[in-house]
Symmetry: C2
Subunit: 306 residues, 2 copies
């Protein structure tokens, strides 16, 4: 925890400069309180309450064959106007077919914020000091399922086909966009092993940065406890070399496994012996205050209210 201690010692001066203002623009492009502004002879943008302007190049009627130079001039005029108006930031949404406009914008200091499928989002910070624009998603989420057959004291494990060391691990994989943790666990277990199961609890979380396979980003790896609905194994031969119901005690003792699997096996053994309430984080679905959509909240089970 050396980094925590270091950050705690940051001087009030540094805090004043970089600290408490960081989130000021944190919903720049998703804010619903937008209104349109048009620069004289420039681009039409939408202004948000944080002082940012968003321009979607798909919506401003640019000629499909506009040249980099012509777009550069147009952008230049708009930037002069936005600066005069005291705007803090400009967001530029660029359809992939107009990507040459991104090169033109780069010459004015814009950089990529993110890109998805058919468009890129560029941003330019025009306020004082370092950019206070919020970043894009930083983590992929991987989920594994420990399917426990309580009556037999066994757990479902696989050996990956593509790894050099044949270590037992719990079946799992990456969450699809918008997929809940428990759904990923159940899906991946079924895809890899053919065993159907249902979500019980969350057991452990690992955070790892610069994760291999995450394009330089971070990884959140979550292991869930599942209960089997079926027991017959029909494992995926593309992904797995072996798949077995293994005694939990055996999994705690073997060296043919990963440190995390071994640790979670110890948790499971403790749970089998003392009750799963000793190891579980339970899940509850609650409605979000603003959107009304449901989210999943995980924490230790609380005793019933008296």
């Amino acid at each position: 925890m050396a980094a925590c201690a270091f950050l705690s010692r940051l001087s009030p001066l540094l805090r004043e400069r970089f600290g408490c203002k960081v989130r000021a623009l944190s919903c720049a492009v998703t804010c619903s309180q937008l209104h349109k502004v048009e620069g004289p002879g420039g681009l039409t943008g939408k202004v948000d309450r944080f002082g940012g302007v968003t321009v979607n190049l798909a919506e401003v009627g640019l000629p499909a064959d506009i040249s980099e130079n012509a777009f550069s001039s147009l952008l230049q005029d708009s930037l002069v106007q936005w600066k005069a108006d005291g705007k803090m930031a400009v967001w530029l949404q660029v359809p992939i077919s107009l990507s040459r406009c991104a090169a033109a914008a780069a010459a004015h200091g814009f950089t990529f914020h993110h890109a998805k499928s058919d468009h890129a989002m560029l941003a330019l910070w025009m306020g004082e000091g370092e950019s206070r624009l919020p970043g894009f998603a930083t983590h992929q989420v991987g989920v594994a399922g420990a399917v426990v057959d309580e009556s037999a004291g066994k757990v479902l494990v696989v050996q990956d086909k593509n790894k050099t060391k044949n270590a037992w691990k719990f079946p799992g994989g990456l969450s699809d966009p918008g997929e809940n943790i428990g759904v990923t666990a159940v899906r991946e277990v079924f895809e890899e092993t053919g065993v159907r199961s249902e979500f019980r609890s969350l057991l452990s979380i690992r955070q790892q940065h610069q994760h291999p396979g995450a394009f330089g980003m971070s990884d959140m790896y979550i292991i869930c406890r599942l209960s089997p609905l079926t027991y017959d194994i029909n494992f995926c031969t593309h992904e797995c070399l072996r798949c077995e119901w293994l005694h939990v005690g055996e999994l705690t003792e073997t060296s043919s496994t990963t440190p995390i699997t071994s640790r979670v096996a110890r948790l499971l053994l403790h749970g089998l012996e003392q009750g799963f309430d000793k190891i579980d984080l339970t899940m509850e679905e609650l409605p979000a205050v603003y959107s009304g959509r449901f989210y999943q909240l995980y924490h230790r089970q609380l005793p019933a209210k008296s």
Copy 2:
């Protein structure tokens, strides 16, 4: 958990078609076992063990002013060759200054996979069926810190300046890229309140999709338990309206708070009364098997090995 049940009922046929092959290309561009291939009169790429080709346009000696048409022809020749060679996918890393090449690639079916700062990564799936290429990061990570003064039975809470409802909540904010959960909690508490603290445990996790302010992506919101190192409040007037040490019992009863804060207040009260081991996930740092880098693992405390 209706979705889990639904997925569990997927037919073996569907599983055969979409299921167990999904991760086959999951480290396409980070794999270290690459070798160069050059198409006749085409682009030079690196081949990975999953049958993908990666071309970095910054490294293949393109003229800086290459036209969209000229690049399109070059790419076309290479695609013919790669298809003939049975390649499964092509990754195209495009510097922002050569963005016009992204428009040309889009005409051949490429889409944006992601973009960062000065470059975009495009991808084209050439294998059979649906793309099996891995996605990019899907989650932002937000962290809040519940700083508990155990001797006084109080916890540090703030009211956001920019929200309409003045609800007490724990100070917090988004993790910076590569920042550990505990470090974010300590940093954000200090920035918002001036109170220095140290990480103790992880209390709860919320997963929410289509999160406002996350550019259409998902959010993982984590609340940590912290211990105070200092007690004087010097809160950030840009972000906060009020900041106080509030009795934990009072926070469990007030309606001026969010559902999650209220829930965590109940956890904290339970912890103050029965011991924090009843509510904590403890953290341990372990070395990654392959990279040797350290990762953080969170789970229920295990009894000491006998």
